[in-house]
């Protein structure tokens, strides 16, 4: 009896301590709520040095940063227009910025609050997607490259630095491809010698044919999983963004990459503030912080992308700034790269249609998957037949049982005989 009581007391004490611990975890939240402003930053995945967020919060007491990530311009855009979430700063790419400007989603920036804007190089200002540079401040820029694992891919196949490597049957099943239509079609259009911003539907059709032809050779359509699959040598060839390619080749030195001479995409990711933002001044403070040359250098070092902050170049490791794959010559950029433009709505519909068709076609043809689908169909049919048989048999036996109930006299014999 006494023993039981002591256990009870112990339990109660444990309960009190536990609830105290749980409650105390709310205390900082409550205190913070009173004076602090929280700005919501929505950026690409693996695209910032997380320590900088802490540094910003330390330098600006009273401002908290709530940092979330997305993995494609399109998913970011659909989240914004759904109105489901409240963001202050977003980091879209070029074509998406012009689309968002057209749709009146972005706020005009007050550059008096962003004095560090002066460090941004002149070539990165007033770009086509934001001609008067009213809405955006460049974050990073880069190009789309093709990675290959030099352990498995022979030098002969890469010496012409062409996108055709992605269509090389020798490496069937070891090729990865972009799982987003804009980048995938961009590559196919360039392969055919067309513009990535083509507004001719028949050119898009041809590009779709190219992608269909490539499909049996493709191991998987992936985005962020490219990191894992290339580093572990699950796949040998993949197109991806230059900064990430650099990170991957740091992890696995066998992986090399080149900018395809058929033409490549040059992209700018810029910081913008949404019109719906309630803390515009604080958000501008954050943008200003990110434009600080030293901060920008640290950030660039971490993510591997090229910075638009010319002052920051002085703080960067020369090995990085002299890497022609990350900072190509401006002549090369002019001749071999193209910046995405916002596609007109009818072309967007064509793109969407073609991409969906490409993706659903896999289920019906293609060598390996077809044989895989074969046994699945057999399994389905066999188990369906079994189920139907079972139902029929049960029906018959149920009816027999009912008959037995009706004639209890001879039914008894019947039951014994059955058993």
């Amino acid at each position: 009896m006494k023993n039981k009581k002591s256990i009870n007391i112990f339990k109660r004490a444990a309960f009190v301590i536990l609830s105290a611990v749980m409650l105390s975890s709310f205390v900082p939240l409550l205190c913070a709520g009173a004076a602090d402003v929280t700005i919501n930053v929505y950026n690409w995945g693996e695209y910032i040095d997380q320590n900088l967020l802490t540094q910003f919060e330390e330098e600006n007491p009273g401002i908290k940063v709530n940092y979330t990530t997305f993995d494609s311009n399109e998913s970011m855009y659909s989240k914004i227009i759904s109105g489901a979430a409240n963001y202050d700063i977003v980091v879209p790419s070029d074509y998406m910025i012009s689309k968002m400007i057209n749709e009146d989603l972005l706020a005009e920036l007050d550059f008096d609050n962003i004095p560090n804007y002066k460090y941004i190089g002149d070539v990165y200002k007033n770009l086509a997607f934001d001609p008067d540079n009213k809405y955006s401040v460049p974050y990073f820029w880069g190009t789309t490259v093709i990675m290959y694992n030099s352990k498995y891919v022979s030098e002969d196949d890469v010496k012409d630095k062409s996108v055709n490597l992605l269509w090389n049957e020798k490496y069937s099943g070891k090729i990865l491809m972009f799982d987003n239509p804009r980048d995938a079609f961009g590559i196919a259009l360039k392969k055919l010698g067309y513009s990535m911003n083509s507004s001719n539907p028949s050119e898009w059709d041809e590009a779709a044919e190219e992608l269909k032809r490539q499909k049996p050779l493709v191991q998987a359509y992936v985005m962020d999983a490219i990191f894992d699959k290339m580093e572990s040598e699950e796949a040998y060839i993949a197109p991806y963004y230059a900064g990430d390619a650099l990170t991957i080749s740091d992890e696995n030195p066998d992986i090399k990459f080149y900018i395809p001479v058929d033409g490549s995409n040059m992209f700018f990711d810029s910081m913008c503030i949404l019109k719906s933002s309630e803390h515009k001044t604080e958000a501008e403070k954050f943008i200003n912080f990110m434009c600080d040359p030293q901060v920008s250098a640290v950030n660039s070092e971490e993510v591997g992308y090229a910075t638009a902050n010319t002052e920051a170049l002085n703080y960067l490791d020369p090995e990085l700034t002299e890497n022609k794959l990350i900072y190509p010559e401006s002549d090369f950029l002019k001749n071999y790269t193209e910046v995405f433009k916002n596609l007109p709505a009818p072309i967007q519909a064509v793109e969407s249609q073609l991409w969906t068709n490409l993706k659903i076609e896999s289920s019906t043809d293609g060598g390996e998957t077809a044989s895989g689908a074969g046994w699945i169909q057999i399994f389905c049919v066999v188990s369906l037949v079994l189920i139907v048989l079972f139902v029929i048999l049960r029906g018959i036996s149920n009816q027999r049982k009912k008959k037995l109930w009706r004639k209890p006299a001879d039914g008894k014999k019947e039951v014994y005989r059955q058993l």
Binding site: S72, S75, A349, F379
Partner: protein, 286 residues
């Protein structure tokens, strides 16, 4: 109206509000979007557009069906043997072990399978190493990015949903009924088909729905384990809502999910009939 009725009504109020806000309104929105165009005018075009996804619906249903059957084959014997254990504490431990993987995040578990079944993954590496010891060279199985891998992911993730309801009904079967059957001279097979199976039918039915419904509408398993090579209907719906294929179109996306809902409802209706035929006590779904 007396107090206890009033009390009962008051207690259901929070749930009624919950259902209205989070179930009825979303379904109404899905129906609204399915029958309107971008401008909000009535149209049947979205429903017509679904025709081209016939193949995708078929594949989704096929894979979910196979996964459900495999789950049933795996889950029934397990649930049966656990429910027949004499020691109650051991039963609880076993059930906890089945629940254990669900304590981890669904995505992490699926990612883990990726590293297991890749060409250079753990399973293949081990087999290659093992055969190498005996002097054989082996290419390795290609498992990932196939439809088989998607089925594997479905079975692995949804198996507990099949075990639990079956286990619950099996524990409720009165042991004395089985003993009575045995006393009357029924064989083991007879006892199973005439006593245990009919009485566990409600559990099987709810297990099947709890596996089939999430499996048929999944999109992340096909993306991670199928490598984006096989599109399921869930992937297409996701694309239309997120605009991953280029354009955001809530209307077609809503129409697609409406048709999926109807298909699921029809199959549940068929299951319900099946339930009434087999089990004497018709159990509700889920």
């Amino acid at each position: 109206m007396n107090d206890s009725v009033k009390m009962r009504k008051a207690m259901t109020a929070p749930y009624t509000v919950w259902m209205a806000v989070f179930v009825v309104v979303p379904i109404a929105l899905v129906v609204y979007f399915s029958f309107t165009n971008v401008g909000g005018k009535f149209t049947l075009d979205n429903i017509k557009a679904i025709g081209e996804f016939r193949g995708t619906y078929l594949i989704s249903i096929e894979l979910a069906f196979v996964a459900t059957v495999i789950c049933l084959i795996l889950a029934y014997p397990i649930a049966y043997s656990i429910s027949r254990m004499k020691d109650e504490r051991r039963q609880q431990t076993m059930i906890m072990l089945i629940m254990l993987p669900m304590w981890m995040n669904f995505l992490i578990r699926t990612y883990a399978w990726m590293t297991l079944i890749e060409d250079t993954g753990l399973i293949n590496t081990f087999i290659k190493w093992f055969l190498h010891l005996f002097g054989y060279e082996f290419e390795g199985f290609s498992m990932i990015n196939t439809q088989g891998a998607i089925i594997l992911g479905m079975v692995y993730n949804f198996l507990p949903y099949m075990v639990l309801p079956i286990y619950t009904v099996l524990t409720k079967i009165d042991e004395s009924v089985i003993e009575a059957g045995r006393d009357l001279g029924a064989s083991g097979r007879k006892i199973f088909t005439m006593i245990i199976l009919p009485q566990s039918a409600p559990g099987i039915i709810s297990g099947i729905t709890m596996v089939f419904v999430p499996a048929v509408s999944t999109f992340i398993i096909s993306k991670l384990l199928g490598g984006g090579m096989t599109y399921l209907i869930g992937d297409i719906i996701e694309n239309y809502f997120l605009g991953n294929a280029g354009e955001v179109n809530y209307n077609v996306g809503a129409a697609l999910s409406l048709v999926l809902m109807i298909l699921i409802l029809i199959s549940m209706g068929i299951m319900n009939r099946f339930d009434k035929e087999t089990g004497e006590e018709a159990g509700g779904i889920i």
